[in-house]
Symmetry: C2
Subunit: 218 residues, 2 copies
C-alpha cells in the first residue's frame, strides 16, 4: 500500500467518525422533538463544539496530506470530496443543534400536532445514513438514490408548510410555536440537502463526473 493510500484510509476513518457523531446528533435532536425529551436535546447542544473541533482537525489533516505527498488526480478527487463532505457534516451538526434549541422551547408547551414531521425527520435521517453508507461502500447506486430522494423531502416540506400556515391563521396563540415547527421543517430540509450534497460528492469521486447542482445523475 502506498503511504498516501494508508493516510487517505485513516482520513476517511476520521471522516466516518465525524459522520457517526453527526448522525447521533440528528437522531437525538429528532428523538427530543418526537418524544418531548429534553435530555437528548441538551446532549446535541453540548456535542456541537466537539463536532466543530473535529471538522477543523479533519481539514488540517487533509491539508497536510496534500502537503506531504504528491497525490495523483484520483487521490485529489478523493481529498476534495473529503473536504466537502466534512463541511456538509459540520453544517448538519449545526442544524441538529438548531433543531434541539427549538425543541427545548417547544417542550414546556402543550403537545402540538406533529403532522408529517416524523416522516420528514425519518427520511432526512435515512438520507444522511445512506449517503455515508454510499461513501463507505463506494456505492454509486445508493448515492444516486439519496440524490433522488430529495424530491420527496420537498413534497413533505410543502405539505407541512401549508398545514402550518393554516394552523397559524386559525389560532393566533399557536403562532410562536408554529414558527418553531416551521424552522424545524426548514432545518430538516437543509439536513436532507446536505445529505444530497454528500451523495453528489460520492458520485463525483466515484465517477469523476461533477453532478453537483443537480445536473443529470443518470
Amino acid at each position: 500500500m502506498r503511504r498516501i493510500e494508508h493516510q487517505l484510509y485513516e482520513l476517511q476513518a476520521r471522516l466516518l467518525e465525524m459522520g457517526a457523531l453527526v448522525e447521533t446528533a440528528i437522531h437525538d435532536s429528532i428523538r427530543a422533538l418526537l418524544d418531548r425529551d429534553e435530555a437528548p436535546a441538551r446532549r446535541v447542544i453540548e456535542n456541537e463544539a466537539r463536532i466543530d473541533r473535529m471538522e477543523i482537525a479533519i481539514d488540517d489533516c487533509a491539508v497536510s496530506l496534500f502537503a506531504l505527498n504528491q497525490p495523483t488526480a484520483c487521490d485529489m478527487r478523493r481529498l476534495a470530496a473529503t473536504v466537502k463532505i466534512n463541511n456538509d457534516l459540520e453544517r448538519m451538526g449545526d442544524l441538529a443543534a438548531h433543531i434541539a434549541e427549538r425543541t427545548l422551547s417547544l417542550i414546556p408547551q402543550a403537545p402540538l400536532p406533529l403532522l408529517d414531521l416524523p416522516q420528514l425527520a425519518r427520511l432526512a435521517a435515512d438520507m444522511v445514513h445512506e449517503s455515508l453508507d454510499a461513501l463507505v461502500r463506494h456505492d454509486a447506486e445508493l448515492a444516486q438514490r439519496v440524490v433522488l430522494a430529495d424530491d420527496e423531502v420537498d413534497r413533505l416540506r410543502d405539505s407541512l408548510y401549508s398545514t402550518l400556515v393554516c394552523s397559524m391563521q386559525e389560532n393566533a396563540a399557536a403562532v410562536p410555536w408554529d414558527i418553531h415547527l416551521l424552522f424545524i421543517v426548514r432545518h430538516l430540509e437543509r439536513i436532507a440537502d446536505h445529505a444530497t450534497n454528500i451523495g453528489e460528492d460520492v458520485l463525483y469521486y466515484l465517477r469523476g463526473i461533477d453532478v453537483r447542482h443537480h445536473a443529470s445523475v443518470a
Copy 2:
C-alpha cells in the same frame, strides 16, 4: 514570481469575479424586495446557474493547482481558504436566489411594512463587501470587524422576528406574507453568517490561526 504564485494570483482573480457576481445577486435581490421590482429578482434567479458553474470551475482550478505544483504550507493555507470562500460565495448566491423567489411572491400583494429589513439587508450586504475587501487587501482588521458585526445582525433578526410574530397574531390574513418575510430575514442572516465565515477564513489565511467557530478573534 514562482509559477504557483502566478497561478494563485489568477485563482484569486477568479474568486473575486465570483465574489462580484454574488454581490450583484445580493444587491439585486435586496433592491427587488425594497423597491418591489420584479426585474432584478428575475435576474438573480437567472444568474444562479452561472454562479454554480463558476464555483465548480474554481474548485477544479484549485485542485489542479494542487496537483501540478508542490505548494508550501503557506500556499496551502491560501488554497484551502480559497476553496472555503468559494463555497461560501456559492451558498450566498443560493440565498440571494431564495430571497428573489420569495420577493416575487410578495410583490403582487399590497405593500407590507418592511420594519428593520432595510437595515438588516444593508448590514448583510456591507459585510459581504467588506469580507471580500479584507481578502483583496489582506486586511485582518477589516476581516475582524466583519466577524464582530454578526452580533448586530442577530439583534436585528431578533427584533424582526418578534415584530413578525405579533403581526401574524394580529392579522391572520397576513400570515403567508409574513412567513415570506420571516424567511427573507433568515436568508439575510445566513448571508451575514457566510460573510462572517469569509472574514474568519481571511484571518486564518493571514494569521495562520484558526478562528472558525467563533473562537476568540482578538
